[in-house]
Amino acid sequence: MSPSPLWATIARKEFYDAVQSRALWGIVAIIAVMTSLSAAITLLVPGSGSGAEMALGGASQFAGVLVPIMALVAAYLAIAGERESGSLKMLLGLPPSRGEVVFGKFLGRSGVVAVGLSLGFAVSGVVTAALYGDLPIAAFVGTTALTVLLGVSFVGIAIGISALTATRGRAMTLAIAVYLGLTLLWDLVPTAVHLAVTGGMPGGVVPAWYPLVSGLSPTGAYNTLVQRLLLGGGAVEARIGGPTPGYLDPAVFALVLLAWTVIPPLVGYLAFRRADLG
């Protein structure tokens, strides 16, 4: 039997750590409660249109705000925290390279977030099915999978931040800035671009590039993909008032999510590889 790769050993330890610290169960509980609640609200508010799909849409709206925070919190200290405490010196005095450490930590923390989100969604799936009497399995599994992808992309971003910074404080500052920028302020970007290009605020029908710009952030890409999954392509055509161009294909937004998952840890690694550990 050949021994498991060093990054796998690191990833396993990271996962075990999260189970020990109950971080995993925190994610499960928060997601289960919040998405169940938002699914229920659709039922309670009259006239909001009911049905399990709408409930899933409500849950995903909530997840789009919540999941980035949880993923960032779950991973932003992965490397910077160890660097500040000095345990990184013990770890890097052992055979794993810096690349294996970054990769192992990314995998381990992604596993925590993915398992936590899946279990949380499973609970809210049961709740939704109980409330609405049925559960559209394909839409539910799809939404869960997209939410996991969103979580993993923010783990990637958090690992990148953690590899880039030497102290917990700086990692936290950067994580907060990234959260505000990518999830809250990003909504303003397409509006600002619209204002700059056309001189007016966006109306009911927007240019085709508008949803593209909206969907370039991880959360934007996630929202776009979930909408496409739950509502189909018709909603996009209505929004832009015409046929959907190729660059609004779901695959483009899937690529955007993938890029956010891969590029930040890569950038972090490149800086970390050359860093002096004091």
Partner: protein
């Protein structure tokens, strides 16, 4: 593949016909414009020896180890460890080296046992956890507690145990005694000796002179990033001519003595009935006693003090080094 089955020094890195465990050539680390942490260090540590690096806090000991371990990249110069390049072949080095780094930390939420298991699996070693615990004097109850509740001494013992995992060809201990009680300090010495007896190399740094003196075959003295001296303790003594002091208590001091004529005597000081004679070589000690009796004195008491490493150190660096463990660690 088991690390211990591989040849120790893969490229047969030898200096003066002896295999080198660590070789630094022009090793330099500069931080910013004006901090020169390590300045053009040339140093060879041979396999099988216990080598001590001595110097006050901030002398560059930890930075040197940091460069050897690739925690920090040299500004210029190079280092090889067991024949491997410290910058390019770090994995090969880290498979064969055990390190107790300066300013290390452990995982507060993991037990001592988990720490050792993690180290063993990352090193692909087959050590028995109980065996390691026994070597560093941690009992099973302590091993099953999380490290967050450990005392400094227990933490240090655990970290030492982690360094021993995989029976490394080279054991690097940066200020290993900090936080340890006298038993712990003795343990570090025993571990170092035992390691060297099996042909392995021990490289350790300290700002506490007696610890280096007690265990090291050779010593390097670092000061302000520069290598000031490398030799055995005896060699350093000889080179500096700071031999021993013979203190004689006499019934009465003779009118005239001929002590200064004795070969090897470098200084004579008389105070009341006490005569202090500094001698440069060992044989002169007995001659001094014989001569003073020939001079007609009755000797009531004799004491002989070897010059301490403190004296040596001051002579080399012009600084007063720390005498005991007043300050822990360095940065």
């Amino acid at each position: 593949m088991d690390a211990s089955t591989r040849p120790t020094s893969h490229s047969g890195d030898t200096v003066d016909g002896k295999p080198a465990a660590i070789r630094a050539a022009g090793l330099t680390k500069r931080y910013g414009e004006d901090v020169l942490a390590v300045d053009d260090l040339d140093l060879t540590v041979y396999e099988g020896e216990i080598f001590g690096v001595l110097g006050p806090n901030g002398a560059g000991k930890s930075t040197t180890i940091d460069m050897i371990m690739d925690y920090v990249r040299p500004s210029s110069g190079s280092a090889t460890v067991l024949g491997y390049d410290a910058q390019a072949e770090t994995r090969a080095i880290h498979e064969r080296v055990g390190i107790l780094p300066d300013g290390y930390g452990l995982y507060d939420r993991l037990t001592g046992r988990k720490h050792l298991e993690y180290t063993i699996s990352l090193k692909r070693a087959d050590d028995d956890v109980e065996d390691v615990l026994r070597r560093v004097g941690l009992d099973a109850a302590a091993a099953d507690r999380v490290v967050g509740g450990y005392s400094k001494g227990m933490t240090q013992r655990l970290a030492l145990g982690m360094a021993l995992v995989g029976d490394p060809d080279l054991l690097i201990l940066d200020e290993p005694s900090s936080g340890l009680d006298p038993n712990g300090v003795r343990l570090v010495r025993e571990i170092a000796r035992e390691h060297a007896e099996r042909g392995k190399t021990v490289f350790f740094s300290s700002h506490i002179l007696s610890q280096v003196e007690a265990v090291c075959d050779r010593v390097a003295i670092l000061n302000r990033g520069q290598l000031v001296a490398v030799d055995s303790i005896a060699g350093l003594r000889d080179a500096l001519d700071t031999g021993s002091t013979v203190t004689l208590t006499l019934e009465s001091v003779p009118e005239s003595t001929t002590l200064t004529e004795v070969a090897g005597v470098t200084d004579v000081a008389v105070e009341d009935r006490t005569v202090r004679v500094s001698v440069a070589d060992a044989a002169a000690k007995v001659d001094v006693i014989d001569r003073i009796r020939e001079d007609g004195a009755t000797v009531l008491d004799v004491s002989i003090a070897e010059s301490s490493l403190e004296d040596l150190f001051s002579a080399y660096t012009g600084d007063d080094p720390a005498r005991n463990d007043a300050s822990e660690g360095e940065r």
